[in-house]
C-alpha cells in the first residue's frame, strides 16, 4: 500500500517537471498569440455586451408595453365588472317587477273570470230585457214598394209607390192588436190614405181565436195571405181578386178561427167563421146594374140591415215527414145581403202546393147576386199560377258570380180570368196605379190575362219583380153607360182589343 502511494506521487512529480520544461521552452511565441486572442475575445465580448444592451432596451420597451396593456385590460375588466354588477342589479329589479306584474295580472285575470262568470246567460239577458221593456210590446211590420208601369194600348208609363206599415201591439199573451195603414199616390197631385185592416185578436185557447175589426176577407187564399207586396209573387192581383173582384176585399165584423193537428205533424185543418157588414156595390151609380163593381172596402153597413156570413175550411193532407210536398186544399163561402132582401151568394175552392223549388196555387170562385129586376148577376173567376226557384241551378258555362245571380231568380206564370155578362163603362179605369197597368182590357165582360213574371230575390223579403201582362179577352157582352144620367144606356161590346203591359217593382217586406 505504501509503495503504491509512493508510485503515484513520483508520477505526479515527473509530469510536473516535464510540463515546466515544456512551458519554459515555448513561452515567447505563445505570449504573442495570446495577446491577439485576448483582443479578439475582448471585441467579441464588447459586441455581445452591446447586443445584450440592445436586447435589454427592447425587452424593457416590451415590458412597458405589456404593463400598459395590462393596465388597460385591468381597467377594462373593472369596467366590465362594474357593468356586470349594474346588469345584475337591473336584472334583479326586472325580475322583481315581473313578479309584481305577474301577480297583478293573475289577480286581474281572476277578477275578469269572476266577472264573466257573473254575466247573465242569453236566457237571463232575454228575460231581463223583456222585463226592462215591459209586457206591452209594439213593433212595426209591413211593406213598401216602388213601381214602374208601362201600358202599350194607352201608351202610358209612370212611376208609382205604395207604403203599408203594419203596427202590431201585444199587451199580453192572449190579446193583440193590428193596424195597417196604406199610403198611395194618386194621378196628378195628392195622396190617398187608407186603413184596410184594424183588428183585435183574442186568443181564447189553443183551438179558437176571436178577431174583431176590419179585416182582409178570409174568403179564399189571396186576400188574407197573398196581399202584401213582397208575398204576392206577381205585381198585380189575379183578375177575380183585383180589377174584377167577386168578393169584397175587406169587411168589418167578427171572426172565430183556429186550427188543429188531426194526424201526424203537418197534417192540419183549420176553420174561419165570420159575420160582417156584408157586400156593397158601387154607390156612385144611380141604380144597380149587372157587372157593377164591388166597393173595395165594406165599411159601415148603411145600405143593408142584413149581415154577411162566411165560412172557410182548409186541410193539409200530407204529413211533414212525407216526400209528397205540402198540399193545401180549401173551400170558402160568403153570403150576405147587399141590399134589403137581395143577397150575394159566393163560394170558392182553392189549392196550393209546394215541393222543393216548385210552388203552385189556384182558386176558382163563383158569385150569384140577386138583382132588383131582371136576371141575376152571375160571375165566375179563377186563376192558376206556378213558379219555380232556380236555387241550386248551376250552369257550367257561366261564371260563379253569374250562377249566383241566376240562382236568385224565380220565373212565374199565371193565367186568370173572369166571366160576367156586362160591364159598366163608367167604371173602367185607365189610369195606371200601384199594381194596375191601366189597361181597359181588364174590364172586358170575359176578361182573360196571361201574366209572365220574373222575380229576383235579393233577400227573403226583398224582391225585384218584373211582370209582363197579356190581356186576351175571350168574348164581349153587354155594356151599361150612365154618363151622368139616372138610367143606363144599354149597349154591347165585342172582345176588347188585346193589350200588353209591363210592370216592374222593388218590394220590401219589413
Amino acid at each position: 500500500m505504501a509503495s503504491t502511494k509512493a508510485g503515484v506521487l513520483a508520477t505526479i512529480a515527473l509530469v510536473a517537471v516535464v510540463l515546466g520544461m515544456v512551458t519554459v521552452t515555448a513561452a515567447p511565441g505563445a505570449l504573442a498569440e495570446d495577446a491577439e486572442a485576448q483582443a479578439k475575445a475582448l471585441k467579441q465580448v464588447e459586441r455581445e455586451l452591446r447586443q445584450l444592451r440592445a436586447d435589454r432596451a427592447r425587452d424593457r420597451k416590451l415590458i412597458e408595453n405589456l404593463e400598459r396593456k395590462l393596465d388597460e385590460v385591468q381597467t377594462l375588466n373593472h369596467q366590465v365588472r362594474t357593468t356586470n354588477e349594474q346588469l345584475q342589479t337591473t336584472t334583479q329589479r326586472l325580475q322583481a317587477s315581473n313578479q309584481q306584474l305577474q301577480t297583478k295580472t293573475d289577480q286581474e285575470l281572476k277578477q275578469i273570470q269572476a266577472q264573466v262568470a257573473e254575466v247573465p246567460s242569453q236566457q237571463q239577458l232575454a228575460k231581463a230585457l223583456s222585463g226592462y221593456w215591459g209586457t206591452h210590446q209594439f213593433t212595426l211590420a209591413g211593406g213598401a214598394a216602388g213601381d214602374f208601369i208601362y201600358d202599350h194600348k194607352l201608351n202610358q208609363n209612370t212611376f208609382s209607390v205604395d207604403f203599408e206599415p203594419i203596427i202590431l201591439y201585444r199587451p199580453n199573451d192572449w190579446l193583440a192588436f193590428e193596424g195597417t195603414l196604406e199610403a198611395s199616390f194618386d194621378p196628378g197631385s195628392g195622396a190617398s190614405f187608407d186603413s184596410p185592416v184594424d183588428t183585435a185578436q183574442i186568443f181564447l185557447n189553443d183551438y179558437m181565436e176571436a178577431v174583431v175589426g176590419i179585416f182582409d176577407q178570409p174568403f179564399g187564399d189571396f186576400y188574407e195571405d197573398q196581399g202584401p207586396f213582397w208575398v204576392n209573387r206577381f205585381i198585380t192581383a189575379p183578375l177575380p181578386f183585383g180589377a174584377a173582384a167577386l168578393v169584397p176585399p175587406t169587411d168589418i165584423g167578427m171572426q172565430l178561427r183556429g186550427g188543429v193537428q188531426w194526424g201526424q205533424l203537418g197534417q192540419d185543418g183549420d176553420y174561419t167563421l165570420w159575420v160582417a157588414n156584408g157586400p156593397s156595390y158601387d154607390s156612385s151609380l144611380p141604380e144597380p146594374v149587372v157587372g157593377q163593381e164591388l166597393n173595395s172596402n165594406t165599411n159601415i153597413g148603411s145600405n143593408t140591415n142584413g149581415r154577411a156570413y162566411g165560412a172557410r175550411f182548409r186541410v193539409y193532407p200530407f204529413p211533414l215527414d212525407s216526400t209528397l210536398g205540402r198540399l193545401e186544399l180549401g173551400a170558402s163561402t160568403y153570403n150576405g145581403k147587399w141590399q134589403n132582401g137581395l143577397w150575394l151568394y159566393t163560394w170558392g175552392v182553392d189549392f196550393a202546393y209546394h215541393r222543393g223549388n216548385l210552388q203552385t196555387r189556384g182558386e176558382f170562385l163563383s158569385a150569384y147576386r140577386q138583382m132588383p129586376t131582371g136576371g141575376p148577376d152571375n160571375r165566375q173567376g179563377w186563376y192558376l199560377q206556378a213558379g219555380y226557384f232556380l236555387t241550386g241551378l248551376r250552369l257550367p258555362f257561366l261564371s260563379r258570380d253569374l250562377n249566383s245571380y241566376l240562382s236568385r231568380l224565380e220565373p212565374l206564370v199565371r193565367y186568370s180570368g173572369v166571366n160576367q155578362r156586362a160591364v159598366v163603362t163608367d167604371e173602367i179605369a185607365t189610369n195606371p196605379s200601384f199594381g194596375f197597368s191601366g189597361s181597359p182590357s181588364i174590364y172586358a165582360p170575359h176578361a182573360r190575362e196571361v201574366a209572365l213574371g220574373l222575380d229576383y230575390w235579393i233577400a227573403p223579403s226583398i224582391v225585384w219583380q218584373t211582370e209582363f201582362d197579356l190581356e186576351l179577352p175571350r168574348a164581349g157582352g153587354t155594356t151599361y153607360t150612365f154618363n151622368g144620367a139616372s138610367t143606363p144606356t144599354v149597349g154591347s161590346v165585342g172582345a176588347t182589343p188585346n193589350d200588353r203591359a209591363i210592370l216592374t217593382q222593388l218590394a220590401i217586406g219589413f
Partner: protein, 98 residues
C-alpha cells in the same frame, strides 16, 4: 122588425163569444226544458214549410225575441196554424231564448 133582427144577431154573437170564453183554457203548463228542446226541434222542421206556404221563410235573426212574440201572434192569426206549432216556430225563431 129590422131592429129586433139586429138585436137577435148581436145577442147570438155575444152568446157565442161568452161560450167560447167559458170553454177557453188559459192555464198553460210550465214547459220543461226537454219540452222546450222538443219545441225548438219541431219549430226547426216546421219553420221552412209553414212559412213558405205563403212567403219566403225569414230567419230568426231579423227580429228580436220580443218582436217574434208579436209577429208570431200575427202569423198564427193569418195562417190559422195550430197553436202548438206556432209556439214551436216561435221557439225556433227566438233561438231558444225564452
Amino acid at each position: 122588425m129590422n131592429r129586433s133582427y139586429l138585436a137577435k144577431s148581436v145577442a147570438r154573437i155575444l152568446a157565442l163569444v161568452t161560450v167560447c170564453l167559458m170553454i177557453s183554457g188559459t192555464a198553460m203548463a210550465q214547459e220543461s226544458q226537454e219540452g222546450k228542446q222538443k219545441l225548438f226541434l219541431d219549430g226547426a222542421r216546421l219553420w221552412p214549410v209553414y212559412c213558405s206556404q205563403c212567403h219566403n221563410a225569414r230567419p230568426g235573426s231579423e227580429f228580436s225575441p220580443a218582436q217574434w212574440d208579436l209577429i208570431m201572434m200575427h202569423m198564427r192569426t193569418q195562417s190559422n196554424m195550430p197553436a202548438k206549432d206556432a209556439r214551436a216556430i216561435k221557439e225556433y225563431l227566438k233561438g231558444g231564448l225564452e
